[in-house]
């Protein structure tokens, strides 16, 4: 059997589209940087699997969310129960005793608050569905935020392709400002630097310095260094 991309004898438009799509994605390239980065993270991480004793905390949090009691004890659960559970996951575990103690304390606090909430609110308790919808409202999720950010970058790409590098820079700057945690921050900065250098704009050197300070081992380090070198001449 030959790989799809080697089937050159067909004129089927779907097969051609499939081949075009596959042609844009190559095999994973070996990367010493990636290997080093993962190694560093492995060495610095002492995260352990969830010890069995932590499971009651997880179950309690999920149950509270489902019954709606979680919504009534906003002081304990920050935004959603899963967030609290995720926090448990994300904290580096130095020793087993500490997280177990934390989890026990957290479980006890949750239970105590739940009992308190039920006792206080019992006469005028809202139906669970209302509580659940309240919990949903409290979630920080911003639907469509990522597609909005992608749109900005795609628009910038279109502007760049049509030769309007000023508009591309403006859109990328907007992306950087609106989505400081966006997945394409590095690319946006590199593209702005590239566009400024293409226009002969003096800000290119500033952007290159900014890039190198933010991403000293970034993928566009060479380009940034070249921009800096040409700015000096």
């Amino acid at each position: 059997m030959r790989p799809l991309r080697e089937h050159t004898d067909s004129m089927d438009p779907n097969l051609l589209a499939a081949q075009a799509l596959l042609a844009k994605v190559g095999p994973l390239e070996p990367s010493a940087d990636r290997q080093r980065r993962v190694r560093l993270r492995l060495d610095s991480s002492s995260r352990q699997p969830l010890p069995p004793l932590l499971r009651p905390a997880l179950i309690a949090a999920v149950l509270l969310a489902v019954t709606g009691a979680g919504a009534k004890i906003g002081g304990v659960l920050p935004a959603s129960p899963m967030k609290a559970v995720e926090e448990l996951f994300s904290k580096p575990v130095q020793s087993l005793a500490e997280p177990v103690a934390q989890a026990k304390a957290s479980t006890q606090a949750l239970r105590a608050k739940a009992v308190e909430a039920r006792a206080d609110e019992a006469p005028q308790a809202e139906p669970p569905a209302a509580g659940a919808s309240h919990a949903r409202k409290a979630r920080p999720a911003a639907p469509g935020a990522s597609s909005e950010s992608a749109k900005l970058v795609v628009e910038a790409m279109k502007a760049r392709r049509s030769g309007d590098s000023a508009r591309a820079s403006k859109l990328l700057k907007e992306y950087q400002r609106k989505y400081p945690e966006g997945a394409l921050q590095e690319e946006a900065l590199a593209l702005r630097m590239e566009a400024a250098a293409g226009r002969g704009d003096a800000s290119a050197a500033k952007l290159a310095r900014q890039y190198l300070s933010r991403y000293p081992n970034g993928r566009f380090r060479d380009q940034a260094q070249r921009v800096l070198a040409s700015a000096k001449h």
């Binding site: 790989p3 799809l4 779907n14 799509l21 844009k24 999720a141 990522s146 795609v154 590239e194």
Partner: protein, 196 residues
């Protein structure tokens, strides 16, 4: 001196047959990192964060190395990677359902497996990967893995059979069906205007 420490100090170190066969974690990491990253990409369906997942796999490898019998290291690593990615995908699903995290946000996370090149090209490539990832995510895990290993990563059918521990004919059958599914999904994406 503590009795336990005394016993440990006085016990002669004899390497068992297993210890002699099992490489150290350092050796495994150095020799297999890239292969594991490729498998992870195939299991994760292109959209997953290869670095995060590869890190998780090696955390499991480090933890479970003591239980490895020393036979068929690639097969063992492959299965560890498979399970780790499967669990990761389940957790991601759970997070999406219960924490309201949009699926797209995960798809957008940087995979960090592209070559340094023109940033514009990289963005275009990311768009293509995203579309391809969305199409592949609609395929069954078994077919998707075989498809990515063969069509994207360039593994031969024989290599896939060895890694999966299945007969070669089964690999060809999976690939045949995967290809059929893929072309149908591409047709659908074209009809919806998602790709040209």
């Amino acid at each position: 001196m503590n009795v336990l420490v005394q016993r440990l100090v006085s016990t002669p170190v004899v390497l068992s047959e297993r210890d002699a066969k099992v490489p150290t974690f350092e050796q495994i990491y150095a020799a297999w990192f890239h292969e594991v990253a490729r498998w992870v990409r195939a299991f994760g369906g292109l959209e997953a964060d290869v670095e995060d997942l590869t890190q998780e796999v090696f955390m499991v490898v480090r933890r479970k190395l003591d239980t490895f019998d020393g036979r068929n290291l690639p097969g063992w690593l492959y299965r560890v990677a498979q399970r780790t990615v499967r669990d990761y995908r389940r957790r991601a699903w759970f997070r999406r359902i219960f924490a309201g995290k949009p699926a797209e946000a995960e798809a957008e996370s940087p995979s960090g497996w592209m070559r340094a090149a023109d940033p514009g090209e990289i963005l275009e490539q990311r768009e293509a990967e995203k579309t391809l990832g969305q199409i592949l995510s609609q395929m069954s895990a078994v077919r998707r893995t075989a498809f990515i290993l063969f069509e994207v990563e360039g593994y031969s059918g024989e290599e896939i059979a060895e890694l999966e521990g299945i007969p070669l004919n089964t690999v060809w059958t999976r690939l045949h069906h995967a290809r059929k599914d893929f072309i149908q999904l591409v047709q659908k994406a074209r009809a919806e205007g998602r790709i040209s």
